[in-house]
Every structure is written in structure tokens, then in C-alpha cells.
């Protein structure tokens, strides 16, 4: 039990490290753009001719030095215009951006944002405060609803066909279309304005503690609904298929022959076996929710992790982006652990072997 799990965790850590490194190295290729974005007024002054080009170059160098972009990128670098027949590779030693990034990462420091000059960790922590309740609630709701729905679907009630068709249709919708539809139906004064569309950022203006909680919950209803609806169809259909297969097996027939009701057969006999293939999918839910949060938080203008990532991508704020990749990797690690724990709980064969 422990060794395979450890090996898999180690492999995932390696994979996340490789991905984060490649994103880091790829992004630093146009670090110049980042510095240009950092100095928009200076570039304007150069363009209009008021400023001194030398001043501007000095300011750009200062910014590069502050952001650590003046160091070479990697341990070895290729010299672009070296004469032929000489070594084109130069060894930079440990004074390079990648090494500094790694060392800081091991100390838990993700660097500073290019745009706001705040530490990335601070920004991500405050964003996570919004995102974790959102994704956590959505994941929990999706799993519980899928369990309840699949259990009832497996009993083959009269409404199974329309529900299946609806699930397949919702599954085909991209998440942002789903979120937009919800937004335009339930937060639109022209249709029904039950929920507020924007404005969670200005929450602090409310003085009363109770009314603040109320506003917060009202703001969260639609995003949670969108995420839940996006995750629900796959889970339900998978669990439903597994249940249908289990109900055709011999032990289910035996249970029925004992005189058990169909509901009892499903609940006590088939469900736990059908859960096993679905558990992997439940574990996939955690990283998928991070990706879903990117879309949902942009649509509903929530100040969370996903919006932070989308803004960082639009504004080329690379330290934040790399931090986002690392965080998603951490979510994947957690998901792996969770999946193994769930297997441990659901499958007695695994429990007894170890």
C-alpha cells in the first residue's frame, strides 16, 4: 500500500517539477515584454520624443535587475554570435535565474509578481480564500448529487430517459457557455434577477456581519451551480453505467432471489462495487475544479485563483502563472492521496493485503 503510493507521488512531483520548469523556461524567453509592460509610461515618453532614450534604457535595466531578469536564464547558455570553431556554450554557474527560482521555491517563496510587485504567495493565499469554498462546495455537491441520482437512475424509473438525455446535453456544453447561460437567466433584470451578477470585490463595504455572510452566499450560488453542473454529468453517467453492469452480475441475481427489493440490492450490494471505477474520477475532480474555476471566476468576476491566473496570462505575469501551475500540481498530489484513501475505504481487498 505505502510503497506504490509513495512511488506514484514521487512520479507526480517529478512531472509537476518538469512542467513548472518548462513553463518557467519558456516564459523567460520574452521577459523583455514583461519589463516593457512594467514601464508603460516610459515607452510612451520615448515614443512621443520627450524622454531620453538612454534614461529609458537605464530604467529598463534597473527593472530587470530588480526582477532578477538580468542574470542568465539557465546553467549553460548558448552564445549567439560566437566565432565559428569555438565553444558556443558558456557555463554560468549557480548565478542564473533558474537556480535562484529553484532555491527560493524550496524555501517556499514563489517570487514576486511582475505587475503588482507583491509576493506571489500572498496574492495566491488571498485568492485561495475565495476559490477553496467555491470549488470545495461544488465538488462535494457534485459527488453527492451524482451518488443520489445514479442510485435512482439504476432502478430504472420512468424519468430515466429524459434525465439521461439532459445529462448528455449538459456534458456537451463547454463550461463557459453553461456559466453564461446561468448568469443571463438568473442574474439578468430582463429575466429574473434572483442573484447578483458582480460585485463580490466590494464586500467589505457592508458593515453588518450577518448581512455580509448573506451577500457572500448569494454571490456564490451561481458559480457553485455552474461548477456542479459541469462536473455532474460525467460522474453520474459513469456511475450509472457501472451500476447497470453490476446489477447484471450473479450476486445481484442472488440478492434478488433472496427477496430483497431492488433499492436494497443497489444500496447494499451493487453500489460499493460500482464505486471503484468512479473513485478515480472523483480524484480527477480536484485538479479539474481548478481549471473550471478559471472559467467560472472570469464569467462571474470573482476575485479568486482562476481569475488571478487568467489575468496573469493576459498580462504576462509569469511568476504568478508558474505558481498556478505548481498549485495545480499540488492539487493533483492531494487528489492522488485522496483516491488511494478512498480505495482503501471502499475495497476490502486492498485493506487486507496491506
Amino acid at each position: 500500500m505505502v510503497w506504490p503510493l509513495l512511488r506514484r507521488l514521487f512520479r507526480t512531483v517529478l512531472a509537476v517539477w518538469a512542467l513548472a520548469s518548462s513553463v518557467f523556461l519558456l516564459s523567460r524567453h520574452d521577459a523583455n515584454t514583461a519589463t516593457l509592460l512594467f514601464l508603460p509610461d516610459s515607452s510612451e515618453s520615448v515614443a512621443t520624443g520627450n524622454g531620453n532614450a538612454a534614461d529609458y534604457a537605464a530604467a529598463q535595466r534597473a527593472v530587470q535587475h530588480r526582477l532578477g531578469l538580468d542574470l542568465p536564464l539557465f546553467y549553460a547558455s548558448q552564445q549567439p554570435n560566437a566565432p565559428a570553431n569555438t565553444a558556443q556554450w558558456r557555463w554560468n554557474g549557480t548565478q542564473n535565474q533558474y537556480h535562484r527560482w529553484m532555491v527560493r521555491l524550496l524555501h517556499g517563496d514563489l517570487g514576486t509578481s511582475f505587475r503588482t510587485a507583491q509576493p506571489v504567495t500572498t496574492r495566491m493565499c488571498s485568492a485561495l480564500g475565495f476559490t477553496l469554498p467555491l470549488t470545495g462546495t461544488a465538488a462535494l455537491l457534485a459527488v453527492l448529487t451524482a451518488l443520489a441520482l445514479a442510485r435512482r437512475l439504476a432502478a430504472k424509473p420512468w424519468w430515466q430517459h429524459p434525465v439521461r438525455a439532459a445529462l448528455v446535453a449538459v456534458h456537451a456544453l463547454p463550461l463557459f457557455v453553461l456559466a453564461l447561460l446561468l448568469l443571463l437567466t438568473f442574474a439578468n433584470p430582463a429575466v429574473v434577477a434572483w442573484f447578483p451578477a458582480y460585485g463580490l470585490d466590494q464586500l467589505a463595504a457592508d458593515s453588518d456581519n450577518w448581512s455580509r455572510t448573506q451577500t457572500y452566499l448569494l454571490h456564490l450560488v451561481l458559480p457553485v451551480a455552474a461548477l456542479t453542473l459541469a462536473a455532474l454529468p460525467e460522474l453520474t453517467l459513469q456511475l450509472d453505467a457501472a451500476l447497470t453492469q453490476e446489477l447484471r452480475t450473479d450476486y445481484a441475481t442472488t440478492a434478488r432471489a433472496k427477496g430483497l427489493a431492488e433499492g436494497a440490492v443497489i444500496r447494499h450490494h451493487a453500489l460499493r462495487n460500482a464505486l471503484l471505477p468512479t473513485l478515480t474520477q472523483v480524484a480527477e475532480l480536484l485538479p479539474a475544479m481548478v481549471a473550471g474555476a478559471v472559467v467560472v471566476e472570469v464569467v462571474f468576476a470573482l476575485p479568486g485563483m482562476g481569475r488571478l491566473l487568467a489575468d496573469a496570462a493576459a498580462g504576462r505575469d509569469y511568476p504568478v502563472l508558474v505558481g498556478g501551475v505548481l498549485l495545480t500540481g499540488a492539487a493533483r498530489l492531494l487528489a492522488l492521496l485522496l483516491a488511494d484513501l478512498l480505495y482503501f475505504w471502499a475495497d476490502p481487498r486492498i485493506r487486507w493485503q496491506s
Binding site: R11, T12, L14, A15, V16, A18, L19, V23, L26, S27, H29, D30, T33, Q78, A87, Q88, W89, V168, A169, A172, L173, P174, L175, F176, V177, L180, L181, L184, N188, A190, P287, A288, V290, A291, V294, V295, V298, V299, L309, A310, A312, A313, A314, R316, Y318, L321, V322, G324, V325, T328, G329, R332
Partner: protein
């Protein structure tokens, strides 16, 4: 229709703004003609954007899906057929390593050239005097599956967003990026099928007939192993369609002057009353994804 888009008699080009008629409802008169399906908040004709958006979507997702299927079937097929057992004679290793050293201009390139020359000499010697030469294994399976697992460990959307921001995006760049993130799925499918086919009697018969293993792989095993892709390809195209429109909705994918459905739909956040900018492209997108899914399912049944 997507291919014919530049030749269709549309009253307005897709990226030209009709600023006098901003966010008009369908069937309104524009300055030079009728806006059949209205205009978006930037005054672009929705019909033209729809047609050219279909063109963007098709020209981006179809090649990406096919390239990913090709790459996946080659990599997955090789990984499934040979596993980690394929061995390559040491002289070839020397040749490859030396060539790489020399090609990348590592310090003292002559070392690389020397190693490569040693390899060539060993190959010539082996050709002149046949005798067993030592071999080193090539872990094809480990390499392919390791790469696939690495790419899969982060959701596709996050990975594409992170890299698309970093490397600057053009249409070919986005195509390469979509291919890169889409191939692991088909590689897994083909590998699983290949593991089953490798043990079938006709492969053994081909081995017994003395065919070289490369030939068996390409001509006999691979055509059978790629059968699951017939089902997976429409689904993969549908997934890529959704991903592409999500990206352009977020404003990260293609440059703003390229017409795309996702960008058209994002206009509704500024202009909540303009239902036609959401409803029409959403209908197109959902219809294409649903029909692709149905195609995949019908093929699955016919298998």
C-alpha cells in the same frame, strides 16, 4: 462552408466595424446592407463572424486532432509493440550521441565527431565481419508513458493557458500547443490495443515468416491497433473545439483580429441585452459538439 468562407457573398467582412450600428438586433439595416444576424458591441456583423469563426475553429481543431492522433498512434504503437525490450547496437548509440554533441556545438566539438567516427567504424567492421555486437536497450515504453503522464498531471486548460501566455500565440503556435496536449489520450488507447494485438497468432506468423519487426509493426500490427481512434477522433475534435472557444472566450488564445465564436460570446458580458451574440455562436458550438459526440457514439456501436 468553413473552407468557402472567403468567397461567400457576405455583406460585411468579419473584422470591419460598422460603428454607426453597434449592438443592433438581427434584421437591422446597416450602412451598406442588411445585418442579417445583427452586430456585436464593436459593430461587427455577427453572420460574418460566425462564418469566419467556423473557419477558424475547423482549421485549428481538425489539423490538431489529426496530428495528435498521428503522433499518439505512432508513439503509443511503438510503446505497446516493443515495450522496453527494443535494443539498439552500441555503434548506433555512439553515432547518435556523437552527432548530437557535434550538432549542438558542445565544448570541443571534435570529441563528438570522434565518437561518431568510432561508431561508423564499428558499424563498418560489423558489416565486414558478422559477429554479435553488444546492444543497449531503448526504453520506448518508459519514455512515451512518462511524457504522457507528465502532460496529463495538470489539467489541459491550465497548461495551455500557462504556455500560451509565455510563448506568445499565433495560429500555428496554438495548433502545436493543442496537438502537444492532446496526443497522450490517443497514445494510451493505441498502446492498450497494441498490447492485445501483439500476442495474436498472425503477428507470430509474420515473425515466423521472417519479416523484420519494423515491417510487422507498420504493416500488420498498427492498422489494427488504431481502430479505437475511429471512435476517439470525433470526441477529441469536440473536446478541442470546446477548448479553443474557451481560450478565445478568456481572451488568451488567438489575436483579437481573428474571428472566433468564443470571442463573440464574451461580448455579452459588456452588453447583457444583446442575446444574439451569445445565442447564435453557442448554438453553432453546441450543435457541432453534440453531432461530433453522436458520430463517435455511432462508430462505437458499429465496432
Amino acid at each position: 462552408m468553413a473552407l468557402l468562407a472567403p468567397y461567400l457573398p457576405l455583406p460585411y467582412p468579419p473584422h470591419e466595424s460598422d460603428l454607426a450600428h453597434v449592438a443592433e438586433a438581427p434584421y437591422s439595416m446597416g450602412s451598406t446592407g442588411l445585418h442579417w444576424l445583427g452586430t456585436d458591441p464593436q459593430g461587427r456583423d455577427v453572420l460574418s463572424v460566425l462564418v469566419f469563426g467556423a473557419r477558424t475553429a475547423v482549421l485549428l481543431t481538425l489539423p490538431a486532432a489529426f496530428l495528435a492522433a498521428l503522433l499518439g498512434s505512432l508513439a503509443g504503437g511503438a510503446a505497446g509493440f516493443w515495450g522496453n525490450t527494443r535494443r539498439l547496437a552500441v555503434p548506433y548509440w555512439l553515432l547518435a550521441l556523437g552527432g548530437l554533441w557535434w550538432g549542438l556545438r558542445f565544448p570541443v566539438p571534435l570529441v563528438g565527431a570522434g565518437v561518431a567516427a568510432l561508431g561508423v567504424a564499428a558499424i563498418v567492421l560489423a558489416l565486414l565481419r558478422p559477429r554479435p555486437i553488444p546492444t543497449w536497450p531503448v526504453p520506448i515504453n518508459a519514455i512515451v508513458m512518462g511524457a504522457a503522464t507528465t502532460l496529463d498531471s495538470i489539467p489541459r486548460l491550465i497548461l495551455v493557458v500557462a504556455i500560451a501566455a509565455g510563448s506568445g500565440v499565433s495560429a500555428p503556435g496554438l495548433l502545436a500547443l493543442l496537438t502537444l496536449t492532446a496526443w497522450p489520450h490517443s497514445a494510451r488507447l493505441v498502446r492498450a490495443q497494441m498490447l492485445r494485438i501483439r500476442t495474436l497468432p498472425f503477428i507470430e506468423a509474420a515473425h515466423a515468416a521472417g519479416l523484420s519487426s519494423c515491417k510487422i509493426w507498420l504493416h500488420h500490427a498498427l492498422p489494427h491497433a488504431i481502430q479505437p481512434l475511429r471512435t476517439a477522433l470525433p470526441l477529441s475534435i469536440a473536446g478541442l473545439l470546446g477548448l479553443e472557444s474557451t481560450l478565445s472566450f478568456l481572451g488568451i488564445g488567438l489575436p483579437p483580429d481573428v474571428a472566433s465564436w468564443g470571442r463573440l460570446m464574451s461580448a455579452i458580458r459588456n452588453e447583457p441585452d444583446a442575446w444574439w451574440t451569445l445565442a447564435l455562436p453557442a448554438t453553432c458550438l453546441i450543435a457541432s459538439i453534440l453531432s461530433l459526440n453522436a458520430l463517435g457514439r455511432s462508430r462505437h456501436k458499429s465496432l
